[in-house]
């Protein structure tokens, strides 16, 4: 039990190829898959075992890739690659451990909001994501959780934070204020 809630514990390592991001999430731009591979390839060779914790699952995900557009290292700043790579990790986690997908990207002010649902057009929930090479994951998770829970639409959703140097991710499902207290 984590965070006072039951989560699923996977003893087997689930394999997942990064290119599957694009087939399982049709709304996701190919640069996200490349950035995910690029963020991991900066520290590791394929495949990498990603340690996943949080209140959704306690598991290990084997992430693999074959090729990716290496020019992204010269065109993007590292922080942009990490940010996009974290979105890719979130897509992998959603596809591996839930029946939900990123269904829409919308612009909200200067940021892009990601919506999650079971089919295209379904935007019942939101996704907040943050990545780092080797920074503090707990602090980022707290910040992103607060950000999700203060969204102006009153939506519940997922929080994914990940670290690429020591491959690990936190995968949370959070209910919005007025929904909390409901049976999970």
């Amino acid at each position: 039990m984590l965070d006072g809630r039951w989560c699923i514990r996977y003893y087997a390592v689930v394999p997942m190829d990064i290119r599957e991001i694009l087939t399982t999430h049709p709304c996701i731009h190919p640069v996200v898959a490349d950035s995910t591979a690029g963020a991991l390839a900066h520290h590791h060779i394929s495949p990498v075992e990603l340690k996943v914790g949080g209140n959704v699952v306690d598991a290990r995900l084997e992430v693999s890739w074959t090729t990716y557009d290496e020019s992204l290292h010269t065109t993007f700043q590292r922080r942009d690659i990490i940010e996009q790579g974290a979105i890719g990790v979130a897509c992998l986690l959603l596809a591996s451990y839930t029946d939900k997908r990123v269904t829409e990207v919308a612009k909200w002010g200067e940021r892009a909001d990601y919506y999650v649902g079971r089919s295209e057009g379904d935007r019942k929930e939101m996704l907040e994501v943050s990545g780092t090479d080797e920074g503090d994951l707990e602090r980022r998770t707290r910040e992103k959780r607060a950000q999700l829970l203060s969204n102006p639409h009153g939506k519940s959703g997922y929080v994914v934070t990940c670290r690429f140097c020591e491959p690990s991710a936190s995968f949370l499902h959070e209910r919005y204020r007025h929904e909390r207290g409901d049976v999970l």
Binding site: P26, I28, H29, V31, E104, V105, A106, K107, G121, R123
Partner: protein
């Protein structure tokens, strides 16, 4: 609709990508295309009675703002002001509208100054004697008869 959702999602990420690598003009063009699709989606959802059409309408305004199409952004936001929305969304609309107006001000100032004789930056037919608001261009100063004919 599914295709519209998919396409605009890809365009928004593409525009953000272009902005990140410093391709400002390319990003603006892609944001403008995404804004057009968001506007269509918002209209269709509103016709269906979907209360969340505002998400796409606000996204359209945000994209117009990124594309530096301030009039279109203001129009999209002003339309949302007439709709009953969550309080937090209303606050964000007002905040974004303020931002759009601040961006619009320099353009409005240029238009105002250009309309005044002493600040006019470009010329069009006139007597060329500096006595008429239209007569500012050196091209017309030597051709008062032509300027008068065109002005008439």
């Amino acid at each position: 609709m599914k295709e519209l959702f998919r396409r605009k999602s890809l365009l928004i990420v593409e525009a953000d990508r272009l902005k990140a690598i410093g391709s400002q003009s390319g990003a603006r063009a892609v944001y403008a295309e995404a804004a057009g699709i968001e506007t269509r989606i918002a209209q269709k959802l509103r016709e269906r009675g979907d209360r969340e059409f505002y998400i796409n309408a606000f996204s359209a305004a945000s994209c117009w703002l990124e594309a530096r199409r301030y009039d279109a952004a203001a129009a999209a936001l002003n339309e949302l002001r007439n709709v009953e929305l969550p309080e937090a969304v209303d606050a964000e609309i007002e905040q974004t509208l303020g931002k759009v107006r601040r961006q619009q001000q320099p353009i409005s100032a240029i238009r105002l100054l250009s309309s005044r004789r002493e600040f006019a930056a470009c010329s069009y037919p006139g007597p060329g004697d500096g006595q008429d608001a239209s007569g500012t261009g050196p091209r017309w100063r030597g051709r008062p008869e032509l300027a008068a004919a065109l002005a008439a």
